[in-house]
């Protein structure tokens, strides 16, 4: 486990910007308030965010890990607590406990192709990986991003994706489950993008994040295409209240998703992924 995973800090943070990504998803940028410090993070880690009087929520960090003293989160409003988060205005404060969790194993991917497969809001925690890879471009070979969303209006970071697509040795492919008529891109589930890749399986490390159903069929297909199970990583999600392995809610088989994860290799997860109601 990364040593950074064990050290976390609690701080008050001020919202600097709130960007609307889609009809229900917003990106919040935070900076430290009152002379406090925001702890740095590694891609894949998450924070516990608290809005006054509402519950604390685990949210993946989706910003650039090398942007000192600032934290960025892309949050989808799915209930009362997330709605409270996304309706923050610039200048308002949150309490941040951060960072938690085992991050994406970027060291393991050095010298290899990085394949990112994201579904829906799953692109948020993976964006930190993209930032990292682009900042350390010589450490990695090809960068391939496969991104699936529900419909064109649900796509995140469209401008950034378009910019990144123009970079050398970088492939950004998107697809939607439901396309309207103005969408000239691909329609179909994210696995339909695989045939557009020329994968060098042994030389590829895959990072996957999205709804669990999607991660199940993506990991199976990647394994079937020859990627070693130890080179496929997923970001799992469970109910979390404490983030430090004590409330017990995030258990998945023998693992506590908050401290043994949220990032797991497919090798670790495979015996548990297919089990019903685990």
């Amino acid at each position: 486990m990364s040593p950074t995973a064990a050290k976390w800090r609690s701080a008050l943070a001020r919202v600097t910007t709130v960007d609307k990504e889609t009809h229900d998803t917003f990106t919040l940028s935070l900076e430290p308030a009152d002379g406090q410090t925001l702890e740095t993070f590694a891609p894949g880690q998450f924070s516990m965010l608290y809005v006054f009087g509402v519950s604390e929520l685990p949210i993946s960090i989706s910003g650039d890990p090398q942007e000192d003293g600032r934290l960025t989160y892309t949050v989808r409003s799915v209930g009362r607590a997330t709605q409270a988060l996304v309706s923050r205005q610039p200048g308002q404060t949150l309490r941040v406990r951060s960072p938690f969790g085992r991050p994406w194993p970027l060291e393991a991917a050095r010298g290899k192709d990085v394949l990112i497969v994201a579904g829906g809001i799953g692109l948020a925690p993976l964006r930190s990986v993209i930032y990292h890879v682009l900042r350390h471009r010589e450490d990695y070979v090809r960068l391939m991003v496969l991104y699936g969303a529900r419909s064109p209006t649900d796509l995140l970071y469209r401008k950034q994706l378009a910019q990144w697509a123009r970079l050398p040795d970088t492939q950004i492919l998107t697809t939607v489950d439901y396309g309207g008529t103005s969408w000239r891109g691909q329609v179909g589930v994210v696995t339909t993008l695989f045939r557009h890749l020329r994968l060098h399986s042994a030389q590829t490390v895959a990072f996957i994040c999205g709804p669990e159903i999607m991660m199940r069929y993506v990991t199976r297909q990647l394994a079937a295409r020859g990627l070693p199970e130890s080179q496929i990583y997923l970001s799992m999600e469970r109910n979390m209240k404490c983030a430090v392995g004590f409330c017990g809610r995030c258990q998945l088989g023998p693992y506590f998703v908050c401290k043994d994860g949220p990032i797991f290799s497919y090798e670790e997860m495979r015996p548990w992924l297919d089990r019903h109601e685990l």
Binding site: M1, G248, E277
Partner: protein, 393 residues
């Protein structure tokens, strides 16, 4: 008398009258003395003022879904087995405030609740309970993170353990290798010897603090026959276990049987009432509640005991991962007897039998394990014998 590490292991004998000084002596040293007393038809733990607060001359009769107090013919202090409560309530409180928040203009201030350093003395800790405390130490102090609330309370605890001289019908500490003899982790350990002629306690020193305490109480060297009697009493208890849990290859058994039909069987009986998790001395799951006052100026975060049996325990957007009672019972059992091994290196179960006694549906953890192994027993009267005949209790 000088306190020294070499005092550990020292044996002495206390007369009943000497033991009566234990509580006031602890109180003088600033301890809140907690121990067993009678209330609401059961032996529960509460603050003790004097020796007479103990359930003197009382025993208990336990079975699956049954608990009765029973008057003894002697005046034994510790003649009962176990009540519904465990010591975890004093180390890992059922409800605790974690932090408070005060609005300040457009912002707010957060204050973490300082861990209250308490001096608590536990009187009457059984071997299985000591094992449970050891297990909680592993979970809450010795893993990636430390729970400050537990730490603050744990560090100041003085433990007076008691060797069991009788087992109940639901006890199976022998199977879990957690008792009945107390081994380490205590300050003083007592074995009660009661007969018409005398009423004494063989005391064993377990720590420097224990030695200091013993020095303040009138005691003498134990007679050889007293030591023999103490040993015999504990050995007899080991043979008296009411239940047995076969732990052979248990982790593999449970991991390999996620779809065993027994889960459906037990789910048909389980009420998902969470009694078992409440009485279990090692269950540690909690929930967190955030509340505000009516004016919205002041907010608090509180941590409360929770249970994996509740439907919302595993809720993520869209629904709960474990919707069915079957999946929740399976989670509890598999965690206690399999995943715990991967997580913390031991079983989570200490064989205290509380979950069997306090289950309103008379579900028996030892029976369930046997059923997964393919052997049905008829303790609860609900199972079929392996030859297919209905058994009647």
């Amino acid at each position: 008398m000088e306190m020294s590490q070499s005092a550990i292991g020292t044996l002495a004998v206390l007369e009943l009258s000497a033991l009566a000084q234990l509580i006031p002596t602890l109180q003088r040293r600033g301890y809140q003395v907690l121990g067993p007393t009678l209330r609401d038809g059961a032996v529960i733990y509460d603050t003790l003022e004097k020796l007479e607060d103990l359930p003197i001359g009382w025993s208990d009769e336990q079975q699956a879904g049954q608990y009765r107090l029973k008057k003894r013919e002697d005046g034994k202090l510790f003649g009962y087995a176990l009540g519904p409560q465990s010591w975890k309530g004093y180390l890992y409180p059922p409800e605790v405030r974690l932090c408070t928040f005060e609005r300040q203009g457009d912002s707010f201030r957060a204050s973490d609740e300082p861990a209250a350093p308490l001096k608590q003395a536990f009187l009457g800790v059984r071997a299985c309970e000591l094992a449970a405390i050891r297990i909680l130490d592993r979970v809450l102090l010795a893993d990636r993170y430390v729970d400050k609330v537990y730490q603050g309370r744990r560090e100041g605890v003085f433990i007076v353990a008691v060797n069991c001289t009788g087992a109940s019908a639901t006890c199976f500490c022998s199977s879990m290798q957690t008792g009945p003899k107390v081994e380490g982790g205590f300050d003083l350990a007592l074995t009660e010897l009661s007969s018409p002629q005398r009423h004494v306690f063989v005391a064993e020193v377990g720590s420097g603090a224990g030695a200091e305490m013993l020095a303040e109480l009138e005691h003498r060297q134990p007679l050889p026959e007293e030591l023999q009697q103490a040993q015999a009493a504990v050995e007899a208890t080991a043979a008296q276990m009411g239940r047995r849990l076969d732990t052979t290859e248990l982790r593999r058994l449970l991991y390999g049987n996620f779809e065993h039909p027994e889960w459906d069987q037990v789910a048909a009986r389980c009420l998902s009432c969470a009694n078992c998790t409440m009485v279990c001395p090692t269950c540690f799951c909690t929930t967190v509640e955030d509340v505000t006052d009516v004016r919205g100026q002041h907010a608090e975060r509180r941590r409360k005991w929770d249970s994996c049996f509740t439907e919302s325990f595993s809720y993520i957007h869209g629904g709960s991962v474990r919707m069915s009672i079957k999946s929740r019972y399976r989670q509890w059992l598999t965690h206690k007897l399999a995943s715990w091994v991967d997580q913390f290196g031991t079983f989570g179960c200490v064989g205290c039998g509380r979950c069997i006694t306090w289950c309103p549906a008379r579900i028996d953890i030892t029976e369930e394990v046997e059923a997964i192994r393919g052997n049905h027993r008829s303790h609860s009267g609900q199972g079929e014998g392996s030859d297919g005949n209905q058994s009647v209790d």
